[in-house]
């Protein structure tokens, strides 16, 4: 799972030995110096899990918009149940990657089993973590499928945000019990009443069902635990059934291999058993099972309804794919529904800034993907940028986090090209259909774009976006959405001041700078979230960039017809700024087929000679000239036009946040 590595860090428990793979993760500058085990183990003796029958088990998640207090609440629950000591203050918020905080990715807190006595009964409460962003909606749905209920946390000051809405519907559609919790009531501007009304209006939950808490101060947190026991039903399964275990997360440990997080939907599992993956059909012998407290604590067995971990000699995270079902060898069961392989939605080229760094970057990529099987990696090379990779990500934020982890954990600076989305074409040409062996193809590389005469329809991916904003920004936001070819699906006042908008966006319209634009025109107050909404028909064309009539392969783009003129003009202007003047005139053109849609002219040098060159000046001057001569090696020649690598980087590079 995408953020598994981070999860381990947050709880400091998943990296028990500083192996070569683990070590770099453990010494990041943004982590506190001590990255050992902040939480003490509950002791060496193994717990007898058979004392927790299904009726005394509750499996639940906490879901929330970023910074609404999910992690703090989780910490309090762990403290109250004695899972971690109270002196271990929760400082995780400070540890978060900047991008996660900005972009609304709640870092995965690791799943944990809590023991709690309520009215004389010992309960086993499994807090199952979910990644907090819709990029990982598939993973979230798998985690939720191991739960029977959720705690929906909403900030008493900020109220419902876009991600609150998305999370609610995920839980609602999974038919889970929902416990609404209004957090941060200790804040000066807290207005829990208003938030309760929002919840009632939007989610149809009576206001009196909301629990007002301050996770920070511990106020009413105990009440949340009681509600979990009362309101969330125990899992419906039977230990007498054959083993049926859902893999809902996995991480990689350098010494022990893959550690899979599992939820038992039937039967029991113990060391020494032979198990089979329904997806890969591979057979394994169970080395170890246990629960997470949140450190791994081995147990003799795990029983139906329980949640824990399993180590079974799996060498790669791809062997423990999220959503997969495990069963006993020779006792196959019907796999749990809903399994699918990770499907990248956003692609970007990644190249080392300096080609001599290629091997270092390669090994950093290999290590990072050990823990993140959802990133697809294909070797790629560009005449301009050299050898690199084309990476597929689940979404934009996934890409941001991945890139930031490369930089922070592996000290790798890379060129990441502007992201693109996978388009599709429905072929009409019999010849092409025969060639591809199918009539519907996915296009990632513009070079493969089939022309309109052999295509009956082009398709582009779409997402359903949710925006929650104070109402004063609504006009600007609607204009922004229209500019992005979005279609309004809903507009709802969730209270007097706040509006929720739903738009169907073409995915490519939000992959580059939509979020930044939204944040800047709403002074940071609007929140945004989106979910996959399938493909729609689109008037797509391939736009070429020509230098003195010669096409530049790496600048070709697939684009919507309506956007071609503006995009072509912008690209030509940027190229004019970045290509150095040469000894002859250069025509920079954007073209669709044979039709030129934009043109800039770069005039030739008429004078380019340094005025003064005497003895004293020559050393510095030679250094500069040698560097320029050296640069000739890296120049990409398009016809007779020399284009420095820098120019490509500046044009192709993803614009980072302003």
């Amino acid at each position: 799972m995408a953020l598994a590595g981070r999860a381990a860090l947050r709880w400091g428990a998943r990296l028990p030995s500083p192996g070569p793979a683990a070590a770099p993760l453990c010494r990041q500058p943004w982590l506190p110096a001590a990255c050992g085990r902040p939480y003490s183990s509950r002791g060496k003796e193994e717990i007898d899990m058979s004392t927790y029958p299904v009726e005394s088990i509750r499996n639940f998640s906490i879901i929330a918009h970023v910074d609404h207090g999910k992690s703090t609440l989780a910490d309090r629950l762990l403290e109250i149940t004695g899972t971690i000591s109270k002196t271990d203050r929760n400082k995780q918020v400070l540890d978060k990657l900047q991008v996660e905080r900005e972009r609304g990715i709640t870092v995965k807190a690791q799943s944990a089993s809590l023991f709690y006595n309520h009215e004389g009964i010992n309960y086993l409460l499994n807090l199952i973590d979910t990644p907090g962003h819709v990029d990982f909606s598939y993973e979230v749905s798998r985690s939720l499928s191991a739960c029977q209920g959720v705690i929906l946390v909403v900030d008493a000051n900020e109220g419902i945000q876009a991600q609150t809405v998305a999370n609610f519907y995920l839980a609602f559609e999974a038919q889970l019990s929902i416990i609404p919790v209004i957090n941060k009531i200790d804040l000066k501007n807290a207005d829990p009443e208003r938030v309760e009304k929002q919840i009632e209006k939007l989610f149809d939950i009576p206001t009196d069902e909301c629990i007002r808490i301050s996770a920070k101060q511990g106020t009413n947190v105990e009440k949340v635990l009681q509600k979990v026991i009362e309101k969330i039903p125990p899992p419906q399964c039977n230990t007498a059934d054959p083993l049926k275990a859902l893999v809902f997360d996995s991480t990689f440990d350098h010494y022990r291999g893959v550690i899979a997080n599992i939820a038992l939907f039937g039967g029991e599992i113990a060391k020494g058993q032979k198990i089979v993956s329904a997806h890969t059909k591979k057979r394994y012998e169970v080395h170890e099972v246990g629960i997470l407290t949140p450190n791994e604590q081995p147990t003799h067995k795990l029983y139906a309804g329980q949640v824990g971990y399993l180590i079974a000699g799996m060498k790669e995270v791809t062997e423990a794919q999220i959503g997969d079902t495990l069963f006993l060898y020779k006792q196959p069961v019907e796999p749990l529904p809903g399994f699918k392989s990770a499907k990248p939605m956003v692609f970007a080229g990644m190249y080392p800034i300096d080609q001599t760094e290629y091997n270092n970057l390669k090994s950093a990529l290999e290590r990072l993907t050990l823990n993140d099987s959802s990133v697809t990696v294909h070797r790629d090379s560009s005449l301009a940028l050299g050898a690199g990779w084309r990476l597929g990500f689940l979404g934009l934020l996934h890409m941001e986090v991945f890139n930031q982890r490369l930089e922070q954990e592996y000290n790798m600076s890379v060129i990441l090209t502007a992201p693109t989305v996978p388009y599709k074409a429905v072929l009409s040409s019999a010849k092409l259909i025969k060639e591809y062996g199918k009539d519907r193809i996915t296009i990632i590389n513009p070079a493969q774009f089939p022309d309109k005469f052999s295509v009956s329809e082009y398709l582009e991916p779409t997402v359903l976006g949710t925006i929650v904003t104070p109402h004063e920004y609504i006009g600007k936001i609607i204009t922004l959405c229209q500019d992005r070819r979005a279609v309004q699906k809903d507009l709802l006042y969730i209270d007097e001041n706040r509006v929720m908008l739903k738009y169907l966006f073409p995915l490519n319209e939000i992959v580059v700078d939509f979020y930044d634009a939204l944040k800047s025109l709403s002074s940071g107050y609007a929140s945004f979230d989106y979910e996959d909404a399938g493909y729609q028909s689109a008037d797509l064309i391939k736009m070429d960039i020509l230098l003195n009539g010669n096409p530049v392969e790496e600048l070709a783009t697939i684009i919507h017809n309506d956007k071609a003129y503006a995009a072509g003009k912008l690209l030509c202007e940027r190229l004019k700024e970045t290509i150095p003047r040469q000894l002859f005139e250069i025509a920079i053109q954007a073209a669709i087929g044979k039709k030129i849609i934009a043109r800039e002219t770069l005039k030739p040098y008429r004078k380019n000679v340094v005025a003064k060159c005497y003895g004293g000046d020559i050393t510095r001057r030679m250094k500069l000239l040698r560097r320029q001569a050296e640069g000739k090696k890296l120049m990409r020649k398009i016809g007779n036009v020399e284009v420095p690598r820098d120019a490509f980087i500046r044009v192709l590079k993803r614009e980072t946040d302003k």
Partner: protein
Amino acid sequence: APCPQWPYCRKRCSYCNFNTYVVPAVDEAAVRSCLVREAQTLLRLSQVHSVTSVFFGGGTPSLASPGTIAAVLEAVAGAAHLPAGAEVTLEANPSSTSASALDGFRAAGVNRLSIGIQVRGALPAAAAAAPRGPIVTVLPPQSLDDAELRMLGREHTAAEALKAVEAARGLFPGRTSIDLLFGLPGQSRDAWAQGLEATLRVCDDHISLYQLTLERGTALAAQVRGGALPAPPQDLLADMYQTARNVLVAAGFRHYEVSNFARKGALSTHNLSYWQAEQYIGVGPGAHGRFVLRAEGGCGREARVQTLEPVAWMREVQSQGHGTRSRAVLSPLEQLEELLTLGLRTDEGITHKRWGHFSPQLSLQAVFGEPGEARALQQEGWLVLDNGGLRCTWAGLAVLDSLLPDLLWQLQRV
């Protein structure tokens, strides 16, 4: 050719990023003895027999007393042969070149003056090897327009500049050079053309003509970057340069280097020695040199830089005879790269003979006559390779910096 540097100025000009120092009182006696000592030491190390030229640059060397100039020249003559006709140039600032001061410099041995409207910050340099005559350059008037002079932060007025040029021509007839600057923020093509005409009426037989370079860290560059002054457009600068070339050539000047014009054979021997990659010895704070250390049995040309900061430089000279801060032996390729970069700046270009001196095995023809960048540049009309050697065409000279990376890249591959 020794090039002693006088690093002090009375005032820093707004466009200057040279190694110059404005100090209230210069201990001239101390500086003088250090210049003398360093000149002696370095000339001894080089074992140069004869000096072709001496160039006093700066700073504002005309702020030094004639006695200092005389002392350095005596030291040069004492350490090597300094022929009577050797060119001894002094860069001079119009505001420090009264007739009497100039007379004093002439008596000290200066025989050529370069008058700058802009004054640089270095004391003398001397050219060694095949002896001809040393040169004196008087630092130039740069402009004959008071408003332009004020923008440049110059101390003098146009009238003073004219007077200085007149005085200099009286004392150094045929051996007075004028520096002119163009491409000043806000300067129009017409203003420049008029300035040129005015200059032609008063000038002697040598003109250096520089496009103003906005050097990082200078007051002028900051004003342009901050928008207080307009940045001159590229096309206007090209026009101004072409105008000047045409006007000066029409007036009988030979355009013998990118920025230098001479008539009646009044070429600067000293500066030519740079462009022909001769040996030169830099004396004084921040001075650069290129020579072979024969005294240490060296046979490779060395690049040497003297300590920048005057006080530190003096301390070093006093303790070890010279203030060399860095030394690097130039590889044969590096020497050829310098020859190419410098030689192509002249109208003569790089002769086969000179190339052969640095590259006895591989001829110019072998390097640049084969298919490659140089051949293409010849076909496009920027470059000529013939019996005379390798040189730029009239058009090519104006875009030399676009040709050099290609040529160097071709040279590196041989």
